[in-house]
Amino acid sequence: MSERVRLPPSLSALPKHPVRWMPALAAGLSLQQYASFLLRRLAGLAAVLMIAIWVLEGEGYFWPAWVWLGLSVPVTLDLMGRWAWRHERGASRRVALMWAVIMVGCGILVVTWILTWLLDGVREFWPAWGLLGLGTAGSAYSLIALHDRLLVARGRRALKERIDTLTRTRREAVDAQAAQLLRIERDLHDGAQARLVALTLKLGRAALRLEDRPEVKALINEAQREAASAISELRDLARGIVPPLLADRGLVPAVEALSSRYGTGTAIEVDIPFEVSPAAKGAAYFVIAEALTNAVKHSGAKHTAVRMCGERGCLKVVISDDGCGGADPLGSGLAGLRARVEALDGTLSIESPVGLGTEVSMTLPCAGERERRGAAERLAVGRHAVGIGR
């Protein structure tokens, strides 16, 4: 608590003579620092002087103790005051000053009691009520002065809790949505699409028996064609939700199939030491698909590369090409995928200097995958299992 006045190094080289106190002021100590310095020197000097007088008087009742107590009050007040002053201006400094005064007061009470006990033989601890009173007053003042601050702290805590809750529920919502999409995709395949296939099969069998009635057969064939285009539309819809290879085999085979579809020499590099949630897999897949499509269709790239790695609980995906660059980050289809990535607390950035190719980078936090996976699986109701795995 006490703060030594540190003299600048140049001062220690000065001759040990009272006059050096004045150059100390000149050497850059503030007036306040110089005053404390002087105060302690004088108090020390006075304390020694008292002993001398007491000895000269004939060593009776040890009264210098009371003088020391008196001298120590301004010194302690100075020290405590400077401690309090270091607090932030405002309520906390006021409270610290208050406590400095209270501590000094308590100190005086206790030391006075010790002296009366040692010198006068007073036994009972009379400062108790005074200490209690000072403590209570200080606490009450602190509470009133810091009330606002406590409220702010409580508000901050409530805000943090709210953010935690929102983050968690959003993550659960995104996972639930991914599981639901997967279920919808399966339902389209096994429900509507399968029924339509069964329908075309029945129509086909009927047509076989109507070889002798070409006008009816033509009608049936037309119905079959319509059913076929409905099946095809459902297939495209399902593929847009979750590409089958992604649902069946996971991210890496799906990206490999993508690259072979685009036929540029795509170098794929994978190092993901953890399992990726369906939501993150979907986002990563569609970002890669969009980036590769742009590379092949618009930038005239000869080579593309996809790097997927898991780093510090994050899935990092970088898609780069050697095309013409100059892609508009807001104009490409990637802008639409940004919302999807951001919903997962991820980031998506596009760098596309003219003539230097394009690099799309995406980072998705995947920490705590295990707990989240449990939640996602519970949400995948019915007979459908959730395809996880890489």
Partner: protein, 218 residues
């Protein structure tokens, strides 16, 4: 012909069984999952297995994996895989090193009953039938291959897609409403443009289709 069917949706399974039986094909066993399929194949020794890609319990690609396993156990078994979608990667896996007796069709092709029955016969007899969608995906995929194949006319491309489905020249001619002679001319042209060696005709037919598959893998 003895056939085993693995399809988990009863509606479709029953429709398939009815269609095959109406056309004098002997359906010896029906399975609802991959395990049942493998049991039925080892128990009945059929000529052909018709398999849905997605089967219980995970509804991902069990059917495909079971089909590949069954082929490994008995290489002469014909396998016709049906799916709601086609993936060239699946086609390549299914064929592995041996394209004989392999079929991979979209489910809705069942609706064209005659073509489907023809595909069934063809696969059981050791032929190769690939959905035209597979061929389209491959044609669209590789730029280098597109360059190599840009010499094909759109009509030749249509003929190639129908060849991939295992159709005979006569069936192709009927489908495209041209004469059989015209189809033969197109096919000769395809062979020469794809630089396929002149050898046994049926073999070359399959090679024409597999050229795409190999290029997709490479």
């Amino acid at each position: 012909m003895r056939v085993v069917i693995a399809e988990d949706l009863a509606l479709l399974r029953e429709g398939l069984v009815a269609l095959l039986r109406e056309n004098d094909i002997d359906v010896v066993a029906q399975a609802q999952d991959a395990e049942g399929l493998l049991r039925a194949i080892s128990g009945h020794k059929p000529d052909l297995a018709i398999v849905d890609v997605r089967l219980p319990p995970t509804f991902s690609d069990e059917g495909l994996r079971a089909a590949i396993e069954a082929r490994r156990a008995c290489p002469h078994l014909g396998v016709l895989v049906l799916s709601q979608y086609v993936e060239t990667a699946y086609a390549s896996e299914l064929i592995g090193g041996n394209s004989a007796g392999i079929g991979y069709l979209l489910k809705e092709r069942i609706g064209d009953v005659r073509a489907f029955l023809q595909a069934v016969e063809s696969v059981a007899a050791g032929g190769t039938v690939l959905d035209r969608e597979v061929v389209t995906q491959m044609l669209d995929s590789d730029r280098g291959r597109r360059d190599a194949l840009s010499a094909l006319t759109s009509r030749e491309r249509e003929v190639l897609e129908l060849m991939a489905e295992g159709r005979s020249n006569a069936a192709i001619a009927e489908s495209l409403v041209v004469t059989q002679g015209a189809v033969e001319k197109h096919i000769t042209s395809i062979y020469s443009k794809l630089d396929l060696p002149a050898c046994e005709v049926d073999h070359r037919r399959v090679l024409a289709v597999l050229t795409y598959l190999r290029l997709a893998d490479g």
